[in-house]
Amino acid sequence: MKLKTFKIGGVHPPENKMAASTPIEALAIPKRVSIPLSQHIGAPAVPVVKKGDDVKVGTLIAKGESFISANIHSSVSGRVFAIDTVTDTTGYKVKAVIIDVEGDVWDESIIRTPELAKEIKLEPADIVAKIKSSGIVGLGGACFPTHVKFMVPEGKKVDTLVINAVECEPYLTADHRIMLERTEEILVGIEIMKKALKVSRAIVGIEANKPDAIAKMEKVASDFPGTEIQPLKVQYPQGAEKQLIKAALNREVPSGKLPLDVGCVVNNVGTALAIYEAVQKNKPLFERVVTVTGKKIKRTANFLVRIGTPVEALVEAVGGIPEGTEKIVNGGPMMGKAVVSPEISVTKGTSGIIFFDKSEAKRKKVSNCIRCAKCVTVCAMGLQPYLLEKLAEKNNWEELEKLSVTDCIECGSCSYTCPSARPILDLIRLGKANVNRIRWERSKK
């Protein structure tokens, strides 16, 4: 049988999923955590604790006050040391709540029993409220506040819930592991989402390089009518919302529109688990699974990490930074960001920490574009990356806008495939930023 996938573009980088067979293990709680107030897309959360306050695991420490924002909870118990600026992945300064850890006392409202809670007692509106108060954001990496996705505007109809279990980024295995180890909980989480959206159909898209996860999910899903498991051909960037909808449902999201416009809501499989824990166990989002991997590393790992743990702690747990490491990446190798210092902390969006040596990290020497059109072939959005790059180099923002540069999902397939090693995506990103700025200025007028 031919496996489904999206129709245009895509690449297949070496998978390198070395950590796939390593079970999830809980990482020891560090002595101090710094929890950034802006771990999501949208306005930063406003702190509700002050220096010297005692907090428990799960205590609300910052409130998301605007429409697109998310609550933030303490991941440890202890005392607030300071609310200060810390360095984020890219080296810029962000506000964070720094907590000194004392013991591990959980908030009384969190149910810590391991039994599966299958019965969904809450009504749809209450589920959405619970998701909002638990500070759940999309755990695929973009960190869009999840509750916003469930507020379907009037006039729009949703018929299918799409669960993103693709994990198309090479190296990463966090989603793979939770599908194997927390299968029932994920499927109950999907039931909760179906109830909140009032839909009866859910499709879970899993790439074919995870046969064990597909088998396990299929076996358990037979108890949950309306939830289908859809194996997909391995193809990057299938984990992008629009590509996944095309692959699983053969629906095309038009330019500038949302999945809602074609009757879909897409959520990550990690988010499904977080929603289960929030709704059934009253546990806010304060920990996540992070893959720590690399070719030269002593051992690969999938850690269950408290948010705010310094990356240093993860590095130590796998035996230190391997020799010859040139670059540490936060996230996947295709879309992740280079870490400026291991002092940075794990946030809700940290899906992996990957170590690269010189051969993988260094950019190749840039040469002239030879018009081979490989970038055009692999662009999953049907754009013309070579042309966008040239126009961005010439600061021709008007023309870039006409060529739909803002449709670019920044997957990086063009830069990956370019035989001349041109910095295509870097320049497209610059173009996108400028087009967005121009549009914003225009809307102000």
Binding site: Y92, K337, V340, S341, K362, P423
Partner: protein, 303 residues
């Protein structure tokens, strides 16, 4: 053979004559009446088409000036490259009184040289500040400082800037700078400010934009403003040109009298000037070394 040449000359000549007549008639009939003053003003402008005035090129500004003059005033419109005197001439040509503006110059607000802010990471992406700024805080680790990739140098249409290889920072050549503001717009970190040239080119400014606490700022750059406030206290009571906000001092060029007292007290030497600061209060022993260093700094600034 002769016939061919003759026929060609006659036929082509006829075509040319007819075309000339048609073009002449059209040019006369559909002539666009244009104010002759526009051409005149455009000639008075530098013709660099830098866009610093906000209009599309020098002719765009000339048209706008004529239009504004008809409305009564050209106040607020200025061509920085032309300079105050030339603007006064333009005003005169348009029959208006224009008071010459104080001459200004672009000033870099970062002292993060290779020596003061050593590189901590490697950046091997495209050599553009605008891109490096979106990727990370830069190889020096300072999210406020100069990235040293020279976007400002690239946009300067007057050759008034160059990158100093030794320091890794751009240098502004005062004589050539016309303060068009192109570099101000090009810098993703807003590190270039247009400041008054000052009397006898005497200027003092805080050479930093880091708004972090002293300790955090010093971690990445030894020349950072740590917000200690010593300069604020040193500034003469009648002047009070220095304000401290978010651990960063700012010298108001309109108030500053360029006495140079603040330069001496700054513990990180984050205050720069175009002149030799007054001799520091006598106390440290390693004095001669210090003053040598200062001279070096001064020289670099004046290039």
């Amino acid at each position: 053979m002769d016939g061919i040449i003759l026929y060609s000359v006659i036929s082509l000549g006829t075509v040319a004559a007819v075309s000339a007549i048609v073009l002449f008639v059209i040019a006369k009939k559909f002539k666009v009446e244009e104010d002759p003053r526009i051409d005149m003003i455009a000639e008075l402008l530098p013709g660099a088409n830098c866009g610093g005035c906000g209009y599309p090129g020098c002719r765009g500004l000339a048209e706008a000036l004529v239009k504004a003059a008809d409305a009564g005033s050209i106040a607020g419109m200025n061509c920085a490259p032309a300079g105050g005197e030339q603007m006064a001439k333009i005003g005169k040509a348009l029959g208006l009184e224009v008071t010459a503006l104080e001459p200004t110059v672009a000033v870099l607000l970062c002292g993060g040289t290779h020596e003061k802010a050593p590189k901590k990471t490697d950046y091997d992406g495209p050599s553009k500040c605008s891109i490096a700024h979106t990727v990370s805080c830069g190889d020096k680790g300072c999210p406020y400082g100069c990235l040293g990739l020279g976007d400002c140098v690239t946009v300067c249409a007057f050759g008034a800037m160059y990158m100093d290889e030794k320091t890794g920072l751009p240098v502004i050549i005062e004589e050539k700078c016309v303060s068009c503001g192109a570099c101000v717009k090009a810098c993703p970190r807003k590190l270039i400010e247009i400041r008054p040239q000052g009397r006898k080119s005497r200027r003092v400014w805080v050479n930093c934009r880091n708004t972090e606490k002293g300790a955090t700022a010093m971690k990445v750059c030894k020349a950072a403003c740590i917000g200690c406030g010593k300069c604020v206290k040193e500034c003469p009571e009648k002047v009070q040109a220095i304000t401290l906000d978010n651990f960063l001092a700012y010298i108001d060029p309109k108030k500053c009298i360029a006495c140079g007292k603040c330069i001496v007290v700054c513990p990180t030497k984050a205050i720069s000037a175009t002149f030799e600061p007054p001799a520091p209060k006598p106390k440290p022993v390693e004095e001669p070394v210090k003053s040598e260093k200062k001279e070096e700094v001064k020289e670099q600034q004046q290039i």
